[in-house]
């Protein structure tokens, strides 16, 4: 499997760490309540088909990526820098 890192280009899967679904970007407010925090920390869907997850290019540039991936075909359709997706300052 290969992931197209926006900074490094197409790279082998061995250079990346997997984290899980990109909902980890959407950290609740401190007072959001138990359900919101449980959903954020623990609860994940297990889709057969398209999904978005977070990958860390640890053996490359160190960027966290949001990767669009199909869990059935394993096709990777897009990869973006998490900081861009999150909409922060570059």
């Amino acid at each position: 499997m290969r992931i197209p890192c926006p900074l490094c280009g197409s790279r082998d899967i061995r250079e990346f760490d997997y984290m899980g679904h990109a909902q980890a970007l959407d950290r609740p407010e401190p007072e959001a309540g138990a359900q919101a925090w449980d959903d954020y920390v623990h609860n994940r869907d297990n889709p057969a088909g398209p999904t978005r997850d977070l990958w860390f290019h640890g053996l490359g540039c160190g960027a966290w990526l949001v990767v669009d991936r199909d869990t059935v075909s394993h096709e990777i359709t897009a990869a973006a820098l998490a900081r861009d997706v999150k909409g922060g300052a570059a």
Binding site: M1, R2, I3, S10, D12, I13, D17, M19, A24, L25, R27, P28, P30, A32, A34, W37, Y40, V41, H42, L54, F56, G58, G62, A63, W64, S73, H74, E75, I76, L81, A82, R83, K86, G87, G88, A89
Partner: protein, 976 residues
């Protein structure tokens, strides 16, 4: 026997080799199989289950019978196919699965017990009594059934792994692959052409067909020369592409030529991972046998393989050959044999409408029903319309048709389509993204179809990759139609083999169907068909056709089993090349490593790092003696310890204080420049991730430390927090662990040691407890931190790594002059236990800030990672196991890490578990063992007597629960 014709062997280079201890001769260009055939060796092995004599069956990597062990002693390698083993001078080969010898195999008795050894016999025969299984049946079966054995000795051979990238990977260098590579190469694409054979050409080397008016093999050589000259085409012969994986990644096993592999230090094999933008599969086709009674006799072989032996290697496995088939290829075999001057006793075509003008005895609409001859083929029975004929023959070439080698197209869960016209499965387009099949592996069998298929596939790929195809003329070649009438198994009694390698017969498959194992996946597992190392390359389609027939379904409805990588066996040694011994994990050494080793310190692993355990001195006989002395040294004088392995992360930027506030439970924005503070870091789920001190070197500049073990994890976590949660924060950080060498100088005399090397001496006012700042160390710009992991007045001094070794020498020398010296990990551990300082033994991933008594470090003034979840019910309170100190009070004065705690009167069973011990050490300072551990509601139970039971080491004692800070609870020694 060797034929009087040239072939593709070099008769000027004679080679000697041995097989089962007997010496034979061959030529450069031979395989072990062709050389054995040249020497009239007919029996080359014994079968897996019935120990039946077996001969060479094929001429390629699909070989089920001729498995041999190559080499001797530690370097011997079992289960290699004689058909793909290049002959070389001095080759030593042994047959397998026979005892005591190939000719007199005592276990051939199994063949007589065949009625009891059919499909599923494991499950039926040895069910009862159960206890006999491990002791009797399994060892017996393992001895009787098997292939080659490993030597059991460490293998000194070298293996490699490597990566390659290309625009186009062409798999197979037959006519289709060569044309594809030629077109892609001329278009300027970066091409890898891989073929498992030692030379390019594929079937052109085995056939007598012509291309552009010259012998096919000559044409192949000319194209290959062109490709070599291009510079943008890499030709990888001896390289089998073994698997197709996601994203255009392919695994490939390269065998090095025996001449290369014989060189000292050269690898025998290399496992490649090839990343290709596009792939053209031109893997050809594999011929399939026909099942009839005793079709496994030595001398019965594949017709296409026989042509390869005759045409390429100029050998014939028989003097009087018969040919049997259900398609036109059988006729081609007879023609080639006649042209080579080999006597053809009969040509048998199962198709009633077949005809021939070859000068041979011809049977149309006839079938071979039995093969006779115990040690090797002597005669065959033929069922004709007018009865049974018996023909004397010592070699039968059979062809049941061809199966496209489509395995790679199915490696990503694809299934092939059934082609009734070809009576074979053909690959489905798009089954592997970026891969197209061309030539015989797509079901295009004529030479012309292969050439044009390869060219067309390449043209499409060239367009897709945005290049322009150059004009290439399609060479002239035969375009004979492929006519076949399916024939899987000849009806009749007796055993007819489907899977030669695993000894599976038509009867076994029918039995599976009868016993309702009618799904092809169940049949496979019940009979073990296709589960041998050859993965059923020449039996899968036949077996499922027999199953389809037995269950009254069609072949497409029956379907295929799952094709899985690797296409050929890949040695673990090649796949994991380099990862043996010390190569298994990289070693990280501190700058003081060699000095420590020279001082006699045993080094222990700490993650990937190596750290000194203790520094033995004259007269010390045990590690405990050294450790006790080193602890006392630090408490009374001064000790020096390399602490460079702790993770050091340099954090800078206007938002650095806010970032650290978010990262840690406690405040860092309030830390003054020139001061250091201990910090606690949680995971988002509320459990402790790591701890360490952070120094504020400037308004916007911090240096934080992590534990040695968690450095990488913390760095990744920080990147996550910054990039994914607070990207708006203007902060940058980088690991500087390897840039700085850092040494703890601990003990009452630590300042005295330091003042001898600092250009500007320090005092308590200028450098109080938890101070930090830049210092000049004998002219070198360094950093000093007044922090303590021992509880003593202590410092950590850091210099750029290149000065580390000399600073360590100097510090140790000065410490020794003051009755101190170096101390290792054992003493460091005892020192911190005496002080109740935690490590990852305590913050092991399941403990909370509350558990370790640090809940007050979770600041109420701000949010931080893990704060919300740490407040969940159940993560604090009296039901939690809390950090406590333990002191033995029973008869046994010893504590062990990992032991569990129980109430004094309670039985030591899981239900009564009250906690466990995480760290222990003998305290020379206090004169007894100390333990840290977690105990239910522990903080409220100080003073209580509790029972410790180590079920593993069988140690039991009572101990008293105490505060985890055993020594100097007020902390005056560190501050003073």
């Amino acid at each position: 026997m060797r034929l009087d014709k040239p072939g593709q062997i070099d008769r000027s280079q004679a080679l000697r080799f041995t097989f089962d201890g007997r010496e034979y001769g061959g030529f450069q260009g031979d395989t072990l199989a062709s050389a054995l055939i040249a020497n009239d060796v007919r029996v080359v092995g014994r079968s897996f289950k019935y120990h039946r004599p077996r001969g060479v069956f094929s001429a390629g990597s699909e070989e089920p019978n001729a498995l041999v062990t190559i080499g001797q002693g530690a370097a011997s390698e079992p289960n290699l196919r004689a058909t793909t083993t290049e002959l070389c001078e001095g080759l030593v080969a042994q047959s397998q699965n026979r005892w005591p010898s190939l000719e007199y195999d005592l276990l051939a008795l199994n063949d007589l017990f065949a009625p009891f050894l059919g499909a599923g016999f494991y499950y039926k025969t040895f069910m009862w009594p159960a206890k006999f299984w491990e002791r009797l049946y399994e060892p017996m079966i393992r001895r009787a059934a098997g292939l080659g054995a490993l030597s059991g000795a460490p293998n000194a051979d070298h293996y490699e792994k490597a990566y390659a990238h290309c625009d186009v990977l062409v798999i197979g260098a037959g006519p289709a692959g060569l044309m594809a590579a030629l077109a892609a190469g001329r278009a300027g694409l970066d091409v890898i052409l891989a073929d498992e054979d030692v030379r390019t050409g594929g079937r052109l080397n085995a056939e007598t067909v012509e291309v552009d008016g010259r012998p096919g093999a000559d044409w192949a050589q000319a194209v290959t020369d062109d490709l070599y000259a291009m510079g943008n085409v890499r030709i990888m012969t001896r390289t089998t592409v073994t698997g197709a994986y996601d994203g255009g990644t392919y695994g490939a096993l390269e065998r090095l030529s025996p001449d290369v592999a014989a060189r000292t230090g050269a690898p025998r094999e290399c496992f490649w991972r090839i990343a290709a933008r596009r792939t053209i599969l031109a893997a050809g086709a594999l011929e399939r046998p026909v099942a009839f009674q005793n079709n496994d006799r030595p001398g019965v072989m594949m017709a296409g393989a026989l042509r390869a032996y005759v045409n390429r290697w100029a050998v014939s496995p028989g003097k009087t050959v018969t040919v049997f088939g259900n398609n036109d290829d059988a006729h081609r075999t007879a023609a080639d044999l006649l042209a080579a001057g080999v006597h053809v006793a009969a040509l048998i075509d199962a198709r009633p409408e077949a005809s021939t003008d070859l000068p041979v005895r011809f049977y149309a609409g006839a079938q071979v029903t039995n093969a006779h001859g115990r040690g090797g083929l002597e005669a065959i029975s033929i069922a004709t319309l007018s009865g049974i004929d018996k023909v004397q023959t010592d070699c039968l070439a059979m062809s049941g048709g061809w199966n496209p080698t489509l395995h790679l197209t199915c490696h990503m869960n694809g299934r092939p389509d059934w082609s009734p016209a070809l009576a074979a499965f053909v690959p489905r387009d798009g089954a592997v993204p970026g891969l197209v099949a061309a030539g015989a592996c797509r079901g295009d069998f004529s030479t012309h179809a292969c050439l044009s298929g390869g060219l067309e596939a390449a043209r499409a790929v060239i367009r897709e990759l945005g290049k322009r195809a150059r004009k290439i003329d399609l060479p002239q070649a035969e375009d004979a139609p492929y006519r076949i009438s399916p024939l899987w198994a000849v009806p009749g009694k007796g055993r007819a083999w489907l899977d030669f390698q695993n000894d599976v017969t038509v009867k076994d498959v029918k039995l599976a169907a009868t016993e309702n194992y009618s799904s092809v996946e169940h049949m496979k597992r019940y009979t073990t068909q296709g589960m041998a190392p050859d993965q059923g390359k020449n039996s899968n389609v036949n077996a499922l056709a027999v199953l389809a027939d037995a269950t009254g379904r069609g072949i497409p409805e029956t379907g295929t089993t799952t094709y899985r990588p690797p296409f050929v066996p890949v040695p673990i040694a090649a796949m994991g090349a380099g990862a043996q011994g010390a190569g298994f994990a990289p070693q990280r050494f501190t700058t003081s490593h060699q000095v420590s080793v020279d001082m006699g310190a045993p080094m222990i692993e700490a993650g990937l790092w190596y750290r000194p355990s203790y520094f033995p001195r004259e007269g010390e006989k045990t590690w405990r003696q050294s450790c006790d002395r080193e602890v006392g040294m630090v408490r009374r004088a001064v000790g020096v310890c390399d602490v460079s392995t702790l993770g050091k992360i340099d954090v800078q930027g206007p938002d650095a204080p806010a970032f650290l506030d978010f990262l840690y439970t406690n405040m860092f924005s309030s830390l003054k420049v020139g001061r250091t503070r201990y910090g606690l870091m949680l995971r988002e789920d509320g459990h402790v991730m790591d701890d360490g001190t952070t120094a504020r070197l400037g308004e916007h500049h911090f240096l934080m430390t992590t534990t040695t073990a968690a450095a990488g994890q913390v760095m990744k976590h920080m990147e996550f927090v910054h990039q994914c949660l607070v990207p708006q924060m203007d902060v940058s950080f980088i690991s500087v662990t390897e840039q700085w060498a850092q040494f703890a100088v601990a003990g009452p005399k630590s300042r005295e040691v330091l003042n001898g090397i600092l250009d500007d001496p320090i005092d308590d006012d200028g450098f109080p407890f938890m101070a930090c700042g830049p210092v000049s160390v004998m002219g070198v710009a360094g950093r000093l931190f007044r922090i303590s992991f021992s509880g003593e007045h202590a410092y950590e001094v850091a210099v750029p790594a290149r000065y580390g070794e000399s600073l360590f020498r100097l510090l140790v020398q000065r410490a020794e002059e003051l009755d101190g010296g170096a101390y290792g990990m054992e003493a460091l551990n005892v020192l911190r236990i005496e002080k109740g300082f935690i490590t990852h033994s305590e913050i092991h991933g399941r403990t909370t800030a509350f558990d370790i008594g640090m809940e007050r470090m979770v600041s109420a003034k701000k949010d931080c990672i893990g704060k919300a979840m740490a407040a969940r019910p159940g993560l604090s309170g009296p039901e939690r196991e809390q950090l406590v100190g333990l002191v033995p009070t029973g008869a046994v004065k010893k504590l062990t890490a990992g032991a569990h705690l129980f109430d004094a009167g309670a039985a030591p069973v899981r239900e009564n578990d009250q906690g466990y011990i995480t760290s222990v050490g003998f305290s020379p300072t206090l004169g007894h063992f100390l333990g840290l551990g977690f105990l239910k509601d522990g903080r409220a139970r100080h003073g209580e007597e509790i029972r410790m039971v180590d079920h593993v080491r069988q140690i039991e004692t009572t101990c008293q629960v105490v505060d985890p800070v055993f020594f100097d609870p007020e902390g005056g020694r560190a501050r003073g």
